[in-house]
């Protein structure tokens, strides 16, 4: 038995940045302050998770526009709805598990049914904590995709988050955003001209051998995997689909059809059930687009506790595991290998 050192549990404040990746601290909080300086209608509300959703930055800048609603997520959503009814733009923050599992009815009826202008900012989406199923929102997108009127955003990095805040302010309607908090990776800077837009998927890397369509932190992994594959002589394209609903059908279909022989991988920090992968699979099938299609996502099970790097390897969403998955299907001589 080797004496490999065991990694420690990744807590709520763990950074999901890989070693060497540049980061920005609390991009949401700072971007919200900047937006709020221009727009007095913005208020911040939280359910006892201000510090854990980077809303404390807003609290410091605008203490009289900050509402601590207590550890009561149902109330948070109802009160957010009430604030929006009075003409304000509330940014309400909690964890993804609590927004999706505990507060669903209140988001559905009090907010979405009436298209109220509430922005639900939820931290710890998917597998971004080692605390186990109580805090791992592995099915939040599946839960919310069925809710009419709700826009779902899964930003990739600090750049996405910063730009999405102003985009949400400019957009009239309810939004659910899967927040990366704390020291957030900053990777989209390298793509000149990249601009986050609600409802738009963007090609980041062109590649003729395979295509990864991804959202959230998996876009970071997809970019890293594409870089590594390139060194091996394989060109892997990456399309970032930051808005999961409504899906940018047109751009996705166009990208898939550009190289119809490429295998398509959908990578998401979410269960393989009910998320971006199944959403795109359904689109391709409805449009009669037949391609080799595989999902890179979390298994349909309650996940384990521990250190994030260990868990991301275990469940197949680390960069190394993404590369391994790609290699199963694509080789440098451009042959598509037999599949599982």
């Amino acid at each position: 038995m080797s004496a490999k050192k065991k990694l420690k549990t990744s807590a709520m404040i763990a950074s999901i940045a890989d070693e060497g990746t540049p980061t920005t601290s609390a991009p949401f909080g700072h971007a919200l302050v900047e937006a709020a300086e221009k727009n007095p209608k913005i208020v911040g509300m939280t359910a006892d998770l201000g510090k854990y959703t980077d809303l404390h930055i807003f609290e410091r800048a605008f203490p009289d526009r900050y509402y601590q609603m207590g550890m009561a997520e149902q109330l948070l959503m109802m009160a957010g709805a009430g604030m929006a009814r009075e003409g304000f733009i509330p940014f309400v923050t909690t964890y993804s598990v609590f927004a999706s599992r505990r507060a669903y009815d209140f988001i559905c009826l009090a907010i979405a049914e009436e298209k109220l202008n509430v922005k639900i900012i939820s931290a710890l989406p998917g597998l971004t904590t080692g605390y186990g199923p109580s805090h791992q929102a592995t099915e939040d997108v599946a839960i919310f995709r069925g809710m009419p009127n709700l826009t779902i955003i899964d930003p990739c990095d600090a750049v996405d988050i910063e730009q999405s805040v102003q985009a949400m302010v400019d957009f009239d309607g309810p939004v659910y955003l899967r927040l990366l908090r704390g020291k957030v990776p900053r990777v989209l800077d390298r793509f000149e001209g990249y601009r986050f837009e609600i409802g738009k998927a963007k090609r980041l890397i062109d590649g003729k051998d395979a295509l990864i369509i991804s959202s959230g932190l998996m876009t970071t992994r997809a970019i890293e995997a594409s870089d590594q594959m390139k060194e091996k002589g394989v060109e892997v394209g990456v399309m970032h689909c930051a808005t999961i609903k409504p899906l940018d059908n047109e751009a996705i279909l166009e990208e898939v059809r550009r190289h119809p022989d490429r295998p398509v991988f959908v990578a998401e920090n979410h269960s393989v059930v009910g998320g971006l992968g199944e959403s795109i699979a359904s689109l391709l099938m409805k449009e009669g687009v037949a391609v080799t299609f595989r999902q890179i996502g979390l298994p349909d099970e309650f996940l384990g506790a521990g250190a994030l790097p260990t868990l991301h390897d275990l469940y197949g969403i680390s960069t190394n595991e993404v590369v391994k998955t790609l290699e199963q299907y694509v080789s440098s001589d451009e042959e598509i290998m037999p599949t599982i």
């Binding site: 208020v43 509402y67 609603m69 207590g70 009561a72 149902q74 109330l75 959503m77 109802m78 009160a79 957010g80 709805a81 009430g82 604030m83 929006a84 009814r85 009075e86 003409g87 304000f88 509330p90 009815d105 209140f106 009826l109 009090a110 049914e113 009436e114």
Partner: protein
């Protein structure tokens, strides 16, 4: 109380009595159109609505979205028939809409929704939402330095929902003196009597313990309701206020008052005209 004040109050009571009669009548007519409806609740809460709409609330019937209005939130969507009756009586909704109540394309669906009906502020029906929305609106009104108030009509059954109590605690925490909750206690829920399904008595003590200014009255006694509403509105306390109203389902129609109580009181096809006739007799209208 001076003689003038007594005379003035007795005049107010008589005027509100007429409003309550008309609210009951509008509700029964809607029930007749549909052959069903929550008329037991509507008849029970008619006096509370008369005092709310014709004594307490500031509103402009011709402009239901008037920014300075008081907001009346109906959590209990199934009481929509009662609120429609009050809105018709207030002139917010045209009386002829009664003929379409609950029918396809009607602006008066059987469960109240904000998108359908003028004067219906929120979508109710999933119980336990209204008071929390009211908390957010009351906070928003304070931000705007508005003098408008929030009224929220809940039922005793709605007190079963834990989310209601999150809102009760929050309103007291934020000192929302612009929020008035009205609880219709008719001791009846879907399956059984409220006290049997999940006993919340002593209800008033619970609200008081949470930090509310609490009133409990016979919700079918107009004089008592006037006193409670007036006190709640005139109070200089920084607490939110709750007026707990004990009401009798079917009030004003003797055969419905004594019929076995259920969530959905049965009224047979040939009984609607009898109900209207009995109501008229109770109010001395021939």
């Amino acid at each position: 109380m001076s003689e003038t004040a007594t005379a003035s109050k007795s005049g107010a009571v008589e005027a509100l009595r007429q409003r309550a009669y008309k609210i009951r009548r509008h509700a029964l007519r809607m029930g007749e159109v549909q052959g069903q409806g929550y008329v037991g609740q509507a008849l029970g809460v008619a006096d509370v609505l008369a005092v709310s709409y014709f004594r307490a609330l500031r509103l402009d019937p011709k402009n239901p979205e008037w920014e300075e209005r008081d907001r009346f939130l109906l959590s209990i969507g199934h009481y929509a028939i009662a609120l429609y009756a009050a809105l018709i009586e207030a002139g917010v909704i045209a009386e002829e809409e009664i003929e379409d109540y609950g029918s396809d394309d009607s602006i008066l669906p059987m469960s109240g929704m904000a998108g359908y009906t003028p004067g219906m502020e929120i979508t109710g029906g999933s119980l336990g939402h209204g008071l929390g929305i009211g908390v957010g609106m009351a906070l928003g009104l304070k931000r705007k330095e508005s003098a408008s108030r929030i009224f929220n009509l809940l039922s005793d059954g709605e007190l079963n929902e834990g989310s209601t109590w999150e809102a009760v605690a929050s309103a007291a925490h934020w000192k929302l003196d612009n929020l008035i909750a009205i609880v219709d206690v008719n001791d009846q829920q879907a399956d059984d009597k409220s006290s049997t399904v999940l006993n919340y008595e002593p209800i008033a003590d619970k609200w008081t313990a949470f930090g509310w200014e609490t009133y409990r009255v016979n919700g079918n006694d107009l004089e008592a309701l006037i006193d409670a509403f007036d006190s709640a509105m005139e109070s200089s306390s920084d607490k939110p206020r709750v007026i707990i109203c004990d009401t009798l389902m079917g009030r004003g129609v003797p055969f419905l008052e004594t019929r076995d109580k259920t969530h959905f009181i049965r009224v047979d096809e040939d009984e609607w005209s009898v109900a209207l006739k009995q109501l008229d007799e109770v109010y001395g209208v021939q």
